[in-house]
Each structure stands twice: as C-alpha cells, then as structure tokens.
Symmetry: C2
C-alpha cells in the first residue's frame, strides 16, 4: 500500500532534484486547489485545476533565476504533510535577488494532491 509517507518522500526527492514540474504532473489531482499566501496585485492567490497549477509553476520558473533550493522534510500527519523550502532566487524583471522561505502543506486524496497551501516565512 502506498502511504502518505511514501508519496511525501517521492515528492521531496523530486523537488530536491529540481524536478518541481514532474512532481506536480505526477501527483496533482485534476481538480487540485493551489493556495498562495499572497501575490502580485491582480493575481488570484487561489489556482483551481491542474492546468492553472501548471501555469503558475511555469510563470514562476520563467520569471525567476533559481540559484539554489533547500528542501527539508517531509513532515507527516495522516493524509497531510508539510515541506519547508528555502530558495535563493533573482526576479528576472527587477534583477532583485531574494532569499525566500516557505512551508508547503499538502493534502492527499486517493493518492493525489487535492490541495497545496503555501505559507511564507518572514
């Protein structure tokens, strides 16, 4: 039986290898809900459906140069798990380099990510 811990571990391994898109394609449910803590004016913090989640990921990857990503986890409870990300990135448009920290909370249903929710560090 595939457990929450198994899926969480695989997603963490994919993220550690930089394969964020593959993690999403493999595990997002078709009706996944992806919730940011905030965003640019005019951008809805809630993305609904696999195509919207994919689009957000592609926008992010294109808009930023990623110098390094540290992935810590998974931390598991029932059908949910959390992962901490520390990113060193440069926003291409502004040229601003930033160190970001966030924790992602994933909720699984039938072995797929039904919801992902991102918490931003200070």
């Amino acid at each position: 039986m595939t457990t929450t811990a198994d899926i969480a571990q695989h997603i963490v391994e994919l993220c550690k290898a930089g394969n964020f898109a593959e993690a999403g394609e493999t595990y997002w449910a078709d009706d996944v809900v992806s919730v940011e803590a905030g965003g640019p004016p005019g951008m809805d913090p809630v993305s609904r459906g696999k195509a919207a989640a994919r689009g957000k990921g592609e926008w992010w990857a294109n808009a930023h140069e990623t110098h390094s990503v540290e992935v810590d986890g998974p931390y598991v409870n029932g059908d949910q798990f959390t992962v901490r990300f520390a990113m060193d990135i440069t926003a291409k448009e502004s040229g601003q380099r930033m160190q970001m920290q966030e924790i992602a909370l994933y909720t699984l249903k039938d072995g797929k990510i039904a919801e992902e929710r991102f918490f931003y560090g200070g």
Copy 2:
C-alpha cells in the same frame, strides 16, 4: 488590528523563550482541538478542549528532559500559520536521547488557536 502575523510572532517569541505553557494559556480557544500525528498505544492523538491540551503539555514536559529547542518561523497564510521545531530531548523513563523535528500548523479563529496540528519529521 491584531493580525495573524502579530499573534504568530508572539507565539514564536514565547516558544523561543521556552514559555510553551504560557503560549497555550494565552492563545488556546476554550474548545481548541490539538492533533498529534501519532502517539503511544492507548493515547488518543486528538485532544479536545483547553484542559486536555494543557494536560498533554504537562505530560510532555514531565516525561522529557529538554536539552534544546530551535524554533523557526512563523510562516503565514491567511488565518493559519506554521512553525518548525527541532528538539533535543531525553525521555526520562527510557533514558533515550532523541532529536525530533516537527512542524506545527495553527488555525486561528477570533484571535485564538482553534486548531493545532503537528507533523512529524523523519
């Protein structure tokens, strides 16, 4: 106005100072639900109500010698926030020293902790 970030920051400050009980007494709702990822046989992972949450905290404090606690956060999204804890402890009964990592997810309602949910690291 007191925001989620304000309350989260205060709770993190109390925890960094080792004042876990004070953090709970100040912010737990009377009907707080506290959810562990697991527990010893016979122990319900879900505690309901402030008295039960307090009892769990007192049991934990009495059963373990705490050598150090690292508190990382808060990470905020809406009325929820997460905090990462890394603990170096010894279980008094077994004498076993352990390094534990967990992430706590807090859900606020009317400025109080309505739910806290603990995710265990590997």
